[in-house]
Structure formats: C-alpha cells, structure tokens
C-alpha cells in the first residue's frame, strides 16, 4: 500500500536533494512569520542601524599599496531583534543586513548577515536559521544555517537531547551567489547527568560536502565523540573527551576517495581552591583525525600544566609548562618536540605605593628535531603606577632567538604610556603620551632594524553637550639596515555626539572619524598618503 508513496519519494529524492539548501533557507525565512503576528501584544522589537559615508583619497606613486578604496562609499548595518512570549514559550528572532558599495568592506553589495528564530521554554528549545548548537570541542563547535531542537531534562533523570541539521555556510550569501562548499551537517547529542557530580555525553555528527569549489577537495565525515565531567571533591573538576572520525576525501571527480580514520583524546584536571588554581591537561590527536566542524590540531600530543598561586595578598605567582610533539604516525621525516616553560610574578603595592603593579615573566621556547634546534628566551617587565594625577604604564621586553645555523637574533620591545584626566569647567580633558620602540639585532648577518614611534593624544569630553572626542597625532619610523626605511606620520580625529533632537530613539549617535596617514619610503616611488573621513549615524529603538 505504501509502495506508490515510497516510489514517489525515491523518484523525487534527487530533485529534493538538489533543492535542499533552498528549502532550508525558505523554512528559516518563514519561521518568524509563523508565530510573530499572533503575539504582538507581548512583543518587543529593537532595531539598530548604523549608516556611514566614507570619503577616501589616496595620493602618491605608491598608492596601490593602500587598503583604502578611493572615492566616496557608504556602509549600512541593520539589525532587528524581537522577543516575546507565546503561552509558556519565549521566542526571539534576529534579522540583520549589510549594504555597501565598497568592496573592501564586503565583496557583496547587499548581504543578509543574520537570520534566526528561537522558541523556548524550560524544557524545549527550537532554533531555526543561524544555529550554534555547540556539542563538544572535537565534534561540533561551529554555527550552521539550519534547524535544531534541544530538550533539557529538569530533574526527571532523562538525558538532555540536542539534534541539528543544516548547512555549514559561513554566510547567508552562500545560498545565492558567493561560492562555498555546500557542507550538509546532521548531528545529535545525548547528555546524561548521572548524579550531581558527574555527567557524560555522546555526540554523533555527520557531514557531506557537495558542489566542489575551485577544484578543492570534498569531504564526507562521520564523527562520534564522548565527553564527560566529574567533580569528585570540592574544587576538583576532571573532564575529558574522546572522538573518532571517519573521513572520505575526494580530491577530484575522477580520483578515488581517500579514506582516513583518526582519533582525538583529551583529559583535564582543574584544582581550584583557596589561593591556588592548578590545571593539568593531556591531549593526543592522531594525524588522520579530521574535524571539519569542531576544533582540533591534528598530529599532536600535548601535555600542559599551569599553577596560579596567590602567595600573599600582594604577590601572585604563575608557573606553566607546555610540551607537545608531532609525527605521531611516524610518517614525517622526523619528529619535532617543543617545550614551553614559563614563570611569572605579579607584585601589587610595591614600595607601599597604592596603585603600583609590577610584573615580570620569563618564557623559554625550545624545539628540536631533524637536526633543527631552536632556543628562544622571552623576558618581560611591566610596571603600572600613578604619579600624582598621571597614570603610567611601562613595558620592557627582550627576546633572544636562536635557531641552529639560521637565526641568532635579539629583540627589544619597549613602550610607555602616560595619561591623565582633568576637568576644566564643563570640559573633561584626557591628554596622553605614548612612546614605543622595537629593535632587532640579527647577529648572523650583523643587521640591526629599528622602529621608533610616538604619539600624543587629547581626549575632550563635554558631558553637558553629550560630546566625546579623541585626537591623536604621531609618527612611526622603521629603520632598516637593508631594504627600504619607512617614515609614517599619522593624525586622527574621532568625534561622537548624542544629539537631543534624536531623543525619540532609545539611543542615537552622530559620529565623524577622520585620519591622515603619510607613508614615506626611502624608495620614493613607493610613497603614498591616505586621507579618510567617515560620517555616520547610529540609531537604536
């Protein structure tokens, strides 16, 4: 009796499959309209719009190096959020769009940036459109355009359940023009609270790529993951995850698929109590473990330990050790081991000064393998304090880079900021001075490169007129022993004004931002100057 129906589905399936992304899109677009009109009485809508016009001018023979688009362009960002209740359900939706005629802002002139509807009560959550149902680090940790449902148990000893289906496009424009691999994602997660101290979860995620883009690979993956967390005693949390992936990679339409199976495991213990916080973690990810939707670095075995200890009320100590290595499958020509120990100390109220904070850190980078050897030392000193009405923040850092027969560099970084705040009648003045420098000594080639920079800023706020502003002028000089030197002069002005005549809006702001950058190289035909002015209006209601 069901045969005709089955036959019909079988016949229509290829067509349905081709139109699947369009159907998902239509479903997402239509969802808010299904329930919004029913509940206008309890409905709240907020709109945010930011419209700006920018005028850029780039002069000089090296103007092709500028990232600015010459001429006048506009950018408009619109977001509409709504929320309300239907019976015992809360709902929310969000729609966003962006329009611009400057391809540096976006390759699309008009974009649908977000589209989401969510309906939830204490137990059930339905989401359509932009859906971020993060399962676990290795299995699913990215948003998709699709639908999800989540059931949360509230003391009934039934597992929490999440199911999701969608397409892992990074933007809605991928549905109607901008190319991206069409990655269909389906998954489910069960999470069971065994008792108050222990929960365990299982996730299954499957993805299938369609529509090859620029001759790139297509992947079909199946990932199963188990994660858990256990708090055996107060302050101690042990958690872990194990995931197994099975991936088919299609390099081209004529080549046979390449199948890879891999696994990833993670175990972490966090002890947190009194003055101490200790974290121990171990991770092992096989070379063939592939997660297109989660987060993992393949071919890595890693152990990490950190200890943060509040020695006294004024002194904090930090210790850390990270070790990791590759070549777990033995396929590479050699294995590389990396050690990254570090130690740091922060001292507050030094010399009985109320606002002083000093910190010192030492970090060591060691890696070796295949005849290569690297030993880098990083030392950093920082001091913050207040002298009278001036706040100061100074940092000095030194790094020694040593790589066998290819690098022997010493690097110094230093910067200091001095700032204050002074009220003069109805004006609040916020002057600041910043000085910075960087030196790199290459001892192998006997080369020294330097950067000097300074800038002076003045912030002026007029609270009675709802105006804030910031002006900054400065220079940056790159001195290179070989290659082009660069002198960069910069000036910028930002003014923000909340006018009374726009008080009908919940929030409004008119802003003007301008900057001038002048790049001058020792090879004159690379010189260029950028002038940019942006005026905009933000309203929210």
């Amino acid at each position: 009796m069901l045969d005709p129906l089955v036959n019909l589905i079988v016949e229509l399936w290829p067509v349905l499959k081709r139109r699947l992304k369009f159907m998902v899109l239509m479903f997402c677009l239509g969802l808010p309209y299904v329930f919004v009109p029913q509940v206008m009485a309890e409905h709240e809508v907020n709109m945010y719009n930011n419209f700006s016009v920018t005028s850029n001018q780039v002069d000089g023979s090296g103007d092709d190096q500028s990232a600015l688009t010459e001429g006048t362009s506009f950018l408009n960002i619109l977001t509409v959020n709504g929320k309300g209740t239907i019976s015992d359900f809360n709902y929310r939706y969000s729609i966003g769009a962006k329009a611009t005629d400057d391809s540096r802002n976006d390759v699309q002139k008009l974009s649908l940036t977000r589209l989401q509807g969510r309906l939830s009560n204490q137990n059930h959550t339905f989401t359509a459109g932009d859906t971020f149902a993060a399962f676990s680090q290795y299995s699913l940790n990215t948003a998709v355009k699709g639908v999800s449902y989540r059931y949360i148990d509230n003391g009934n000893n039934v597992p929490d359940v999440t199911v999701i289906y969608g397409i892992a496009y990074p933007r809605w424009d991928n549905f109607w023009g901008l190319d991206a691999v069409q990655r269909h994602v389906a998954g489910a997660r069960l999470q069971q609270h065994v008792n108050d101290d222990f929960w365990v979860a299982a996730s299954y995620v499957q993805s299938e790529d369609q529509e090859r883009v620029n001759g790139g690979s297509l992947f079909d993956t199946k990932t199963i993951a188990f994660d858990w967390e256990y708090q055996p005693i107060m302050g101690l949390t042990i958690s872990g995850e194990s995931a197994f992936s099975d991936t088919d990679e299609s390099i081209s339409s004529v080549a046979a698929d390449d199948n890879n199976k891999g696994s990833a495991h993670k175990l972490e213990a966090i002890g947190d109590g009194g003055p101490s916080r200790v974290v121990l973690s171990y991770e092992r990810i096989s070379p063939n473990f592939m997660t297109l939707l989660g987060a993992a670095t393949p071919d890595r075995e890693k152990t990490e330990a950190t200890w943060r200890y509040k020695f006294t009320k004024k002194v904090n100590l930090n210790f850390g050790l990270l070790w990791y290595r590759d070549n777990l499958g033995g396929d590479l020509a050699f294995r590389t081991d990396n050690y990254r120990p570090e130690i740091g100390m922060t001292v507050k109220r030094m010399f009985s000064r109320r606002y002083s904070v000093a910190d010192v850190t030492y970090k060591f980078d060691r890696s070796y393998g295949g005849g290569n050897s690297t030993k880098d030392h990083h030392v950093n000193l920082g001091y913050r304090d207040r002298f009278g009405m001036f706040d100061s923040d100074t940092n000095v850092g030194m790094t020694i880079y040593k790589t066998s027969s290819s690098r022997d560099d010493e690097e110094f970084i230093y910067n200091t900021t001095l700032s204050t705040r002074y009220t003069l009648g109805s004006f609040v003045l916020k002057p600041s001075l910043r000085l910075g420098g960087w030196t790199l000594d290459n001892d192998l080639d006997n080369i020294r490169d330097r950067v000097w920079e300074y800038s002076i800023g003045l912030g002026v706020d007029i609270p009675s007129m709802k105006i804030t502003s910031q002006t900054r002028v400065g220079a940056n000089r790159l001195d290179k022993e070989t290659g082009d030197d660069l002198n960069k002069m910069m000036a910028s002005v930002n003014i923000y004004y909340r006018p009374d005549f726009l008080e009908m809006f919940e929030y409004s702001q008119i802003y003007v931002r301008g900057h001038i950058n002048d790049f001058s190289y020792s090879t004159n035909n690379r010189d260029f100057t950028e002038n940019s002015v942006t005026a905009g209006l933000i309203v929210r209601f």
């Binding site: 993060a134 302050g235 101690l236 175990l267 670095t297 290819s406 290659g483 790049f519």
Partner: protein, 404 residues
Amino acid sequence: MLKKIILLTLFISSLVSTNVMAKWWIFGKSEANVATRYLYLNDVAFNELDEQVTLYRDMLPAGQVVLRGKASSGKSSIGKIEVSLDNKETWQKADKSEDGSFEFSFVPEIDRTYQLYVKILNTSGTSNEVDATYREITVSDSDIDTIIRQALDSMIQAYQVEEPRNFMTWIDDDFAGDYVLLDRAIRKDFTAFDALSLNYTLNSVVSGRNGKVFVTFTFNRQVTSSRSGETFVDQGLTEFIFNVTTAKAKVVAMKNPLIFGLSDAESVATGTVNSDENDENLAVDDDGDLRLGPADGDDDSGSFAAPVNLSVLSYGPYPLLTLQFDAPVYVNAASYRLVVEWSRSTSGPWVLDDEPLMPDPFSGQFGLHARPEVNDPSTIYYRVALERISDNQRSSWSDLVSIP
C-alpha cells in the same frame, strides 16, 4: 596511547583518593568543612567566573539571575542557606533540598551592581568561608553585538600598539588553539609586522550554550613587513567563538584566515572558514616573512609559491653554470633544498638533475654543472623548485630558462 590515558587517569584518581581533605593543590591551606560542593551562576561554574561578573540582559534565561549549588556540611546537617545581594547587609533564604542542593533566583535591575555572598550554616552553627563566594554582579543592557565589538576593538587596539599583555586579557583560558601558543605567536607577529591597519564589520553573531557566542566578520588589512619593508593588503571572512561569561567577551577559538597569531597559524587556528572569498590571505612563515596565499595559512598543508624570475646569471666555461631566481619565502640551507629539472623541450619530458648545493647564506644564486647535452646542437631548458626539508613539501615550478 590508551595506556597513557589510563595511567594519567589512575594518577589523578590516586591523588583524589589518597587524602581527600589534604587538597594537594592548595598546599596545606585548609578550608572549612562547611562549603559549597558546586556553585553555578546562570549555569556557569563559579570557579570559571572572575570576581567581577557582567551579565548581559540578552543572555539572561527568562530575565533572571539563577544561583544553583550544593552545600556540604561535614558531619552535621545543613541548617540554612542564605544569599546576600547587598554586601552582607541583608540576607535572603535560598530554596534548599534535603541533599544540600539549593537554588536562588532574582530578576535583576539593569546597570545595578549586586555584591553577592552565599552563607551556609550547619546545625552546629559553623559557617562556610563566606568571603570566598563573593562576586560583584552587574547586569548590562548592552546587546551582544556591542559586547563583541568592544572585545574586537580592544584586541585590535592592543595588537596595533603591540601590547601582548593587554591583548591576552581578551583570550579565554580554554582557548582551543592553546593560550600559551597564541601568546608566543602574537609576539612573533609583532616582530614580523609594522604599521598595521585592520578594519572589520560584523556579519552574524549567534549565541549558543554556556555563554558561547559564534561570530563571523569580514575584515580588510594593510601591513608592512618589518623584514622586507614591503606592504601587503588582504581581506576576507573569518570566524571567532567568544565566551561571554566573565566581565568581558573572551576568545575561545579562531579560524583561518587569522587576524591574530599568524606566525603560528597551525597551532592557533582551529579550522578554516569555508568560503571562496578567502582566496588570498596574509600568512607568516617560520622566518617571519610575509606572503599572500590560501586561507588555510598552513605552510605544512600543501605546496607553496614557486620561485620566480629564473634567469642565467653566467654560463661558461663549460660546464660552469650559475642560475638565479627570486624566492617566494625566506630561504636558507637549513630549511630548504633546491630541486632542478632539465628537458630538451619546454613541454618535457623533464628529468631530475643532480641536487645542486644551496649556498649558505642563500641570495637566490646557485651554481651547477650544465648537462653534457648542452653541447648537442639543441637547446636545453631548466626549471627550479624549492623543497622544505621538514616535511618534503615542494613548491610549484619556476618559469623556464634555456641554455645556451
């Protein structure tokens, strides 16, 4: 591998079971018997929260702040559990179950600051360490977009003025690409870059479970290489995941194309954004040189750009031949080897020549013995590629030169 996991599990278990109250991680400093076994604020564990907590109206479940926990009281029974929101001036009873679990919720006022403490008293009158439960809670009216913009603006500002300490305050302890490696990578970025200009516009901002927020944004960037002085421009679409459970949004994951930590993209990025618009993005090689390439930013994942401008610097007396080219990356004998092929025709077949010795330091010039076939009355052609020693990855082939 499984053996190591089991051993580590047994090790941790042994620490737990040896002496529960010793608590090795607080080094002998004892705590009261009366305490919270666990404590969550809107489903986020207390120990993951800073002392100052900002909650955002948009992310409150049913507009409420919910405190949920479980008390333990040693050998005595639990008497009462109270919560103060006003710096211990007044106390309100929490709903308590027989097993010690409790819940307390309130509808907060926007922009008001609550100074929260939890007090547990057992029937003997002993209290927990109340001050250890202190959290200053503020509920902000800011929408999620504003919070994310503040975080990105602050990170870009710190990155542009090269303040690693300030920058890293915006990175979550649970950063998926590893906090320590990102810290090292941005310091290397600061060595590699100068005069950075970076602009972005948000696309989608999607809230998930446990305060996680998924963000996509387009960016454009202009930067000068401090090694070569060359200026690079690129743009693209990328994705971040933020954790919005503390006073500010902190990054827990970043994908290629990266805007931070490019110097160790392999460790920092956890994935690549699936979009055709990311066809050419900035990358930094092991030596700190910049280049434009595919968005995966992974030097080890495939071939790299070819040597260009291959030419004959000198030829003769036979068989002395010196070729030169411009390398796409900083090349030295410790990391790369030269691969040379020759053919009688521009269309091949190509034959592998003896591997020429790469001079150290390498300036783009190298010598080799010309093929004896060059003495035949015909032209022969050469082409060159670079091969990275660490993983045997080979660049594309250069253009051709002919001899004589």
